[in-house]
Subunit: 137 residues, 4 copies
């Protein structure tokens, strides 16, 4: 498997609770949609939620960069395309593009850096050996 195979697409329909009185999706709501995509992506990498809740070894967001390009609205059907873009020694980066279903124009672009953290101590761990084949720096 190659780095570019570590990808996942999720779908969302914009609900009332996603919007604000500006008439569009609230900026924070997109991050919930991105977390759902990221969680499924982590599952592809062997870190499913059930395993995590037992081992308490969690991928923790250490940095988010998000660009709000165009607004989504109530009832929009959205796709969130996520992929792993870089794996280093103690953190890895994921990238997300949010589009209206069937369109290619990005509404939202987002990059997140994650570390594997052993809870509840909060100690960051080295990324797993089996990820070594992906390590690019």
């Amino acid at each position: 498997m190659k780095l570019e195979d570590l990808k996942f697409t999720t779908e969302e329909e914009v609900m009332f609770f996603d919007t604000d009185c500006g008439g569009v999706v609230h900026n924070i709501a997109y991050l919930r949609m991105i977390e759902t995509c990221r969680t499924k992506l982590a599952g592809e990498m062997g870190m499913d939620l059930i395993t995590m809740s037992k081992t308490r070894l969690f991928p923790v967001v250490v940095r988010t960069e998000i660009d709000y390009k165009l607004p989504a609205r109530l009832g929009d059907h959205l796709e969130i395309h996520g992929h792993v873009s870089e794996i280093a020694k103690v953190k890895f980066w994921c990238e997300f593009t949010l589009v209206r279903k069937g369109e290619t124009r990005p509404l939202i672009k987002c990059r997140q850096a994650l570390a594997l953290v052993q809870m509840p101590e909060g100690k960051p761990q080295r990324l797993p050996d089996e990820w070594k084949e992906f390590i690019v720096d």
Copy 2:
């Protein structure tokens, strides 16, 4: 169509953002899951989100009763079964049962009363004529 045909089932996988530091799903998160089910149920009744955002005639929650019976946890696959239980002149009731997928034991039971409200004035409207066949009081 009969009242008992007005039903919808949605599925959710419990994400980190749904949980709290008690280790279980936070009581407020279930109401977001219920809203998603209710919105799909409203779609079955002819009130889809796109139409609503144009007409600005919205089904508004006027009362919620919710019983928290058993907790859901990170990674649980949940089903939310919703149905319309009563249609009166100016409000209607929906009922929701949340279970773990493949189980029947309810984790959450919820009833919500809704009114149709014309926004932004906030004026409640009579329920539509085509719902008359369902009116039971």
Copy 3:
């Protein structure tokens, strides 16, 4: 101290993230405001958050009833008045009224039943002995 002294008032200013595209506060957002009031009220009863996170004995909501009477809007200054209304053997009830600051007309009325639960086992405990003086049934 008497039961009617177990009360607390919190204040909120309605933010964008509290509202939805209907132009008013979203029904779920009020429950976050009520939780803040309830948490302060619990502090009055000797259950502050720091103690709870150590003992992992948490007051858990087992039922919510909430009536949405009038909508709040962006920028509104709100007061949430909470009090304990009943203490039984294994659960107690709190009541909340949400008003615009300086007004008495309730926008929201809410009752919640709580139990003390030992986490992570999820076992409900008898209410503390020192609450006996309040026990009314």
Copy 4:
């Protein structure tokens, strides 16, 4: 008034709804705390919520960068220090540092770029003339 005077500090106490089952504050919850600070900061710049909801001219987040350095926990008393760091022709930047009350070590650092957008058309506007004195590029 100088650019460095455009600042505001808000306080938060970490509630259950802010945390997740990792035992710490969820990454998305900090953005709600930052929005509250940013909204008060906007008030300092003449953009209070009541005026905004009338004119429907809103400061809209166009980019967020946030670094999660150290976790906050249930019951922590937090301070969010916000200030305007740059005002350009069509967007301005705010910076936020989140600390435990009485400490200086940052838990969270965040920068946000905002544009003034006329809703519901979504058209970005030039920043107001009275901000000219602050314009640095």
